[in-house]
């Protein structure tokens, strides 16, 4: 977008976009955040993180008739490392104007949403950075944004996948790596970073979507003397405190706040040199997207020692709590607890476990689980539920306003946590030995925290979608895509898709036909009802 167009757009002169439908604006920023119908324009479909679609063409009465429309096997998708995980489609595709945009590490594709035909493929040069996954791309106007594993923010032309510019957002030599789908808020592109193997500080940045230049930088750790610094013993620990920001946050336009989860403190498993709560790691934070200033925070795991990043989507919804209408934010956190807060103020409303964690002595007055010092990693091993993989992880949850239930893929798992560091503890400083990998789809009553029902899905590798058609979509770990009744968890439909679901499914309507699109270990697949 030219400077002049940007000016006009800022003045609200949208007619220009209408006059030049393709060259001007494929995705006007003002249209992002609407309930997802014909488009799925952001990582979570809209800004709320609910992953709830208002579409009803596919519904409980006809879901049994769903059939496969196309399968797309990504071209030239070989990505080395990580025992093959890297090639899994963990990204949530965007769908804008009938085109799907999705990624795996080092690769972005544009695919025709109606037919599954590849329109273009962008390949980034290989790098030594960790290739663990790519959550997807972001779109603003005619441009896409992709975080490379070695932390370049790359702007691509959505039309043909050519590179407009690339900007470094973190230093991969220090062991940062990047996976996130950026969040677009008006003229801000919010990018997060990952990598907790060498005690780097975490941060969040806003970049100008036109130029890629930094607009603001928010540090997960305070500087000496600032509020929060009293939760660290010294400058050394504070400046190497971790807290990665590797999952896409959410946004409330009315409050003008973005909501972000932060990762675990460092050194990961050794806590002796970082006594204290270690703010603002393992927290949900509310930031002003124009300034990066923090409005409030709530720490879900004070002084974490188990690698339980609190980066799970902070899901926003407006609903009653104890009889009073509230603007709420909910998180099913990796530490095994569900949290409900007032998102205007950060006031704590409810904490409830959704598995049976064994690491806490109970809740404090603020509703935070109190870590049991006996359950910290030890040299001879400490048996803890959940494992470092967590009671849940990056797997997208969903909130269905019709059922009033919060759904997530959860795992009642155990691990033996060891401390290994000799001398000064650095990096992970320990490791856990996984025992089991259970998995259930759970429905949580946000008003009480009670788990209404559980549905066994074997293990957990993917996420969820709910729709106004009275459906919750998930995948098990035996290659089945399933649709369940939101109220009961009963299976309404399943299809064996050959591989496991590996992302959060999306849905959108094109030419009057509702599509369901999801990723697997090696394909992007579309389902729909038969054409009448």
């Amino acid at each position: 977008m030219s400077h002049q167009v940007k000016m006009l757009f800022a003045l609200g002169v949208l007619v220009l976009a209408a006059a030049e439908p393709y060259s001007a604006q494929q995705l006007p920023a003002a249209s992002i955040g609407q309930p997802p119908r014909s488009a799925w324009p952001t990582y979570n479909g809209d800004y709320s993180g609910r992953r709830f679609s208002p579409l009803t063409q596919i519904n409980a009465s006809n879901v049994s008739k769903l059939e496969k429309v196309w399968t797309y096997h990504p071209s030239n998708a070989g990505v080395a490392g990580l025992g093959g995980f890297a090639g899994w489609i963990k990204s949530t595709p965007l769908e804008v104007n009938g085109v799907l945009y999705f990624s795996i590490p080092d690769n972005v594709w544009a695919v025709d949403a109606r037919t599954g035909h590849e329109l273009w493929h962008y390949k980034y040069p290989p790098s030594k950075a960790t290739h663990i996954g790519s959550r997807g791309v972001a779109m603003w106007g005619d441009w896409l944004y992709f975080e490379s594993p070695d932390c370049n923010l790359i702007s691509l032309n959505a039309k043909d996948g050519t590179v407009r510019w690339q900007k470094q957002i973190a230093d991969p030599k220090l062991e940062y790596f990047c996976t996130m789908s950026p969040l677009v808020v008006r003229n801000h592109l919010v990018v997060g970073v990952g990598g907790d193997s060498l005690d780097n500080p975490g941060y969040l940045e806003s970049r100008d979507p036109e130029t890629g230049d930094a607009q603001w930088h928010w540090n997960v750790e305070p500087k000496p003397g600032e509020p929060g610094s009293e939760t660290w013993p010294d400058i050394e620990s504070m400046s190497h405190g971790g807290g990665m920001t590797w999952m896409t946050g959410t946004y409330d336009p009315e409050l003008n706040l973005i909501y972000w989860g932060t990762g675990n403190p460092n050194p990961v498993h050794a806590s002796a040199a970082r006594k204290g709560d270690n703010l603002w790691t393992c927290s949900i934070v509310a930031l002003n997207p124009d300034t990066g200033k923090m409005a409030w925070y709530y720490q879900v795991s004070p002084h974490d020692t188990h690698d339980w990043d609190a980066v799970q989507t902070p899901v926003l919804f407006d609903a009653p709590f104890q009889g009073k209408p509230r603007k709420l934010v909910a998180q099913g956190s990796r530490n095994g607890y569900f949290f409900l807060l007032d998102r205007a103020t950060g006031e704590h409303l409810l904490t409830a476990p959704f598995i049976e964690p064994n690491w806490s002595l109970g809740l404090n007055a603020k509703g935070q689980p109190i870590p049991d010092p006996k359950k910290e990693p030890s040299r001879d091993g400490t048996l803890v539920a959940p494992s470092s993989n967590g009671a849940t992880n990056w797997f997208p949850p969903t909130f269905d306003p019709q059922s009033g239930l919060f759904y997530l893929n959860a795992s009642q798992n155990w691990s033996i946590f060891y401390l290994t560091a000799e001398g000064k503890a650095e990096g992970f400083a320990g490791r856990d030995d996984f025992l089991n990998f259970a998995g259930t789809l759970e429905a949580i009553d946000y008003q009480t925290g009670a788990v209404r029902w559980k549905h066994d899905i074997g293990g957990v590798v993917a996420g969820l979608l709910s729709t106004a058609g009275g459906l919750v979509f998930d995948g098990d770990t035996s290659g089945n895509l399933i649709a369940v009744d939101p109220a009961t968890g009963a299976t309404l439909w399943h299809a064996n898709i050959g591989q496991n679901l590996t992302n959060g499914p999306i849905t959108f309507e094109l030419d009057g036909r509702q599509f369901l699109v999801f990723g697997t270990t090696n394909a992007l697949v579309a389902f729909a009802l038969p054409k009448p």
Partner: protein
């Protein structure tokens, strides 16, 4: 739990594999570092009166001594570091050592887990034959004879709690015994009964190997599936055993060399 899930990949594992064989340059660098640098930077280069070099930006940006070399040759007089008149080979050795320290720190799968034998073997024996009910299924002179010779303590401790090979075993090149067979009986809606060794189970199907060795794929919907899983007792144990009991029982099993 379903058998098919046990081998599930871990989405969050960053790097795999044991450490590669030692490079002689690293060892030479270590010796040089200990004699010239360790007094200020610490023997493991994690810092003492002088900075930590493991998570140092200079070291992490260095390629074969190109960043480290000038610092060694010129010193940092303003911070009290003297200059060292080292040859390019000596600098390369020091760089190799420092890179190895950073790599070893960053790769958690190269960490050595040790010091597990803190328990009381006598108390562990008591648990084994008593509250733990281990002797219900296991025998110290039968299946567990010489068990301590078959596994490292870390693997023995894990398998004691839940004796199933994990994805990590294969990624780290460990050879572990497969999980014990699970017997399954399926009563189909027709009343027909099938039984055998469970090979797969999900919500929609059960796969078993029957007595004749035939693989049978059965529709699980509407069927009554009964599983006799020898791991069920371990699942209960996992949720209730204390760390003390775990360490004591490991100490007892370690006597079974």
């Amino acid at each position: 739990m379903l058998l098919s899930t046990i081998f599930l990949a871990l989405p969050l594992v960053a790097q795999f594999g044991p450490a590669s064989p030692p490079d002689p340059a690293i060892e030479r660098g270590r010796q040089a570092f200990i004699s010239a640098c360790a007094f200020c930077h610490g023997t493991e280069a994690t810092g003492r009166s002088a900075p930590d070099l493991v998570r140092s930006s200079v070291v992490l940006h260095d390629e074969h001594g190109d960043q480290i070399g000038p610092v060694i040759l010129n010193g940092r007089p303003e911070r009290g570091m003297p200059a060292f008149n080292y040859t390019p080979e000596q600098i390369a050795d020091l760089a190799a050592f420092l890179h190895s320290r950073a790599a070893a720190t960053a790769n958690r799968f190269s960490y050595t887990i040790s010091g597990l034998l803190t328990g009381d073997a006598a108390a562990g024996k008591g648990f084994f034959f008593g509250a733990g009910k281990c002797s219900t299924c296991h025998s110290t002179t039968g299946d567990l004879q010489h068990i301590a010779a078959a596994y490292e303590p870390v693997d023995l401790q894990r398998r004691m709690i839940y004796p199933v090979p994990t994805y990590m075993d294969s990624m780290m090149g460990k050879k572990t015994k497969p999980a014990p067979p699970v017997k399954v009986t399926v009563v189909l809606p027709s009343g027909q009964t099938e039984s055998g060794v469970l090979e797969h189970r999900d919500e929609f199907k059960v796969v078993l190997k029957d007595a004749s060795g035939q693989h049978r794929v059965l529709n699980a919907e509407g069927a009554k599936v009964t599983v006799d899983d020898p791991l069920a007792a371990h699942e209960q144990l996992m949720a209730h055993i204390t760390d003390r009991q775990m360490h004591d029982t490991l100490a007892f099993l370690e006597t079974l060399k």
